[in-house]
Amino acid sequence: MGDYKRQLLIWFCLMVLLAATFSSAWLELGFWNTFVNFAIAAIKAALVVIFFMHLRRGSRAIRVAAFIALFMISLLFVISGSDYATRQVQSAPWQAPQQLSSAITVQR
């Protein structure tokens, strides 16, 4: 019956974490709100993946697969993000969709 007990324990941890993230959201922490929320989400996800999904006792291939998926999606974020982080955008003060047809009267 150890199995059920462990599930119950994990469930309890998840609930505690949920309560923590819920209540922290009401504190004004600025950037740290986001940080805490996502850190807790990551911990919750890790609990589910490791204990409910048995990643811990999964084969090596499975662990590698999980890692590669995470790695690839973070690549998408990091590399595309590096473009956004370093791009100097001068927003154009033009372009409003409702006037595309009407505004320009210049003849070819």
Binding site: Q7, L8, W11, T21, N33
Partner: protein, 216 residues
């Protein structure tokens, strides 16, 4: 271990090989699913960094009470299906069946609550493209937020529906004592899928409900 004889498909040599292939296949599928959500998460990151205040303001219009209850429901359902898989492994098929029904019921409850939320949002003119109005200074950003909100939660709901059907399917097989079909391996794999849907929600919850809940 499982005492009943496993059905082994003809391309496999042994039950162990079949089990390994099926489990690994499910994990690969989940990797695909994760990448499937990727553009949405990245789109969210784009919006969050470009329309920070608007996202905060829009997020405060989501229903945090229902969202939090739903998170509880889904986390509990994950624990239920994990226990169901454990029960099936230990041979307690009646218990496994009941837990699977509980899981499916919790999943359905989640969808019902989500539906109520959607109704609120419709009433509050928060459905982009169809019925949307928001404080003018945040219109663009808030519309993008709710666009992503509906796509993300909608897609999640579709996945959850699939999960519910899957869970009910195995629960009914167990009720008919079709033990050879609803074996440990398959229920374990269905549970993997369910947990993945749960993990997606674990991230959606702070992304959609919690950002700047305390105010700007």
């Amino acid at each position: 271990m499982n005492t009943e004889a496993m059905q082994i498909a003809e391309q496999f040599d042994s039950a162990a090989q079949q089990r390994e292939a099926a489990t690994f296949g499910m994990w690969i599928f989940l990797a695909t699913e994760l990448m499937f959500f990727g553009p949405l998460f990245f789109g969210y990151l784009y919006g969050r960094t470009h329309f920070g205040e608007a996202f905060g303001a829009a997020s405060r219009h989501t229903d945090i009470a229902l969202g939090t209850i739903n998170t509880t429901v889904l986390l509990t359902s994950s624990a239920a299906i994990a226990s169901a898989a454990a029960a099936r492994r230990l041979g307690a098929t009646r218990l496994a069946m009941r837990l699977l029904f509980v899981t499916a019921a919790l999943g359905t409850l989640f969808l019902v609550l989500k539906g109520i939320e959607y109704r609120h949002e419709w009433q509050e003119h928060l459905v982009p493209g169809l019925r949307f109005s928001f404080a003018p200074q945040y219109t663009d950003g808030a519309e993008i937020f709710f666009f992503l909100y509906f796509v993300l939660t909608g897609l999640h709901a579709v996945h959850l529906c699939a999960g519910i059907v899957l869970t009910l399917f195995f629960a009914l097989h167990l009720r008919r004592e079709n033990l050879l079909f609803a074996n440990e391996e398959k229920i374990e794999i269905a549970a993997l899928y369910w947990h993945f849907v749960d993990v997606v929600w674990i991230f959606l919850y702070p992304m959609l409900y919690l950002i700047e809940r305390a105010g700007g």
